[in-house]
């Protein structure tokens, strides 16, 4: 156990140390403006290999290649729109972390709203019913009160 913890730490640091080592990645840091755009763009784009990571987060080979392509396009003076289009033409809408609203993505965008409306509808219906039920709870009549008293006395005589 005493050995285990340092070992875990060592493994952790070893894995993070090797994560960013590409020479090209170092060379690009020279231009902070371009770097910021790259960062921004690659956070919008999904890495196709590790699908739950953005191109900015991922260190898969493909993500590195795509960052290199984006960097090249920024250098060539391409606009953000052109760069995003470049990716969509090749990998489809799937590459976008914010897919466009169209027929096939309707459920994706509309689903949460539909669920919320359904929830509000159910809640309103429940509250209305509850209100009428409460309204029905009129006080007991004199006759009923005496019957209730009799029953109570019967069940626990003192």
């Amino acid at each position: 156990m005493k050995l285990l913890l340092p070992l875990i730490f060592a493994l952790f640091f070893a894995s993070t140390a090797t994560a960013v080592d590409s020479a090209t990645e170092a060379a690009l840091a020279a231009d902070p403006v371009a770097e910021k755009r790259l960062q921004h763009l690659s956070e919008e784009l999904r890495c196709l290999v590790c699908q739950n990571q953005t191109i900015a987060d991922s260190n898969a080979e493909l993500a590195q290649d795509l960052r290199r392509e984006i960097r090249g396009m920024i250098k060539d003076g391409k606009s953000d729109r052109e760069i995003i289009d470049f990716m969509v033409v090749r990998y489809g809408d799937f590459v976008l972390y914010r897919p466009p609203v169209k027929g096939i993505t309707l459920l994706l965008w509309g689903g949460p709203v539909a669920l919320m409306l359904l929830g509000i509808f159910a809640l309103v219906r429940y509250l209305r019913r509850r209100a009428t039920r409460i309204a029905d709870d009129r006080p007991l009549s004199a006759d009923e009160t005496s019957r209730a008293d009799a029953l109570l006395k019967e069940s626990n005589p003192k």
């Binding site: 590409s22 020479a23 196709l48 290999v49 080979e61 392509e69 090749r90 990998y91 809408d93 799937f94």
Partner: protein
């Protein structure tokens, strides 16, 4: 009582939805390239490095483009199927060797000169084909993976069916299995060659 059936029904519907979702393959990303012209490239041929090949050289033919690399384990799985296919069919099968050296992961690319990478890539690709058999009419070398990006390659192996007009008609990601070949690729080739 009635409302419990209602909740149970909603729950069952949710379970059904999630079960369908689990059955889908998340790697099966629909390619936007299907129905579009095959992206142009000019790459060196493996057998004759001085010669190049472009998709327009194959205009008028139905052909297959198979992306492979010697470091790709799944390529090994599909390879016998491709070898078998090449014996039976006259449809040209073109290999696109994808990042032979830098995709391997075992080399420090910052220390390797481009000439050295090129030499090593040709050597490795040739060695692999002579060991496992060569089903390709010819193979072209995409050393830095740029052509791969144009074709939307994100996992090797990938296979494209390209028609006489040079339009991509199908893309298969992952190893070609006998099922995929027999039930999807072969019928499509037959139809396109009619």
């Amino acid at each position: 009582m009635n409302r419990y059936y209602w909740i149970l029904g909603a729950f069952a519907a949710l379970v059904a939805l999630l079960a369908v979702g689990l059955g889908l393959n998340p790697r099966d990303v629909p390619s936007p390239l299907v129905g579009k012209p095959a992206p142009a490239f000019t790459l060196s041929q493996l057998a004759e490095p001085d010669k190049t090949l472009s998709p327009k050289d194959l205009q008028g033919k139905v052909w297959l483009l198979n992306v492979w690399a010697s470091w790709c384990v799944s390529c090994r799985a599909e390879h016998p199927i491709l070898v078998e296919f090449s014996k039976k069919s006259d449809v040209p099968l073109i290999g696109l060797n994808y990042k032979e050296v830098r995709g391997d992961g075992g080399f420090d690319m910052s220390k390797m000169a481009p000439e050295e990478e090129r030499k090593l890539a040709f050597q490795r690709a040739n060695a692999w084909l002579s060991q496992h058999g060569d089903p390709y009419k010819l193979t072209v070398m995409d050393l830095d993976g740029r052509v791969g990006i144009d074709y939307g390659v994100y996992g090797v192996p990938e296979t494209y069916v390209i028609d006489k007009a040079g339009v991509i008609r199908m893309k298969h990601t992952g190893p070609v299995t006998p099922d995929v070949l027999g039930q999807k690729i072969m019928p499509l080739l037959a139809e396109l060659n009619k």
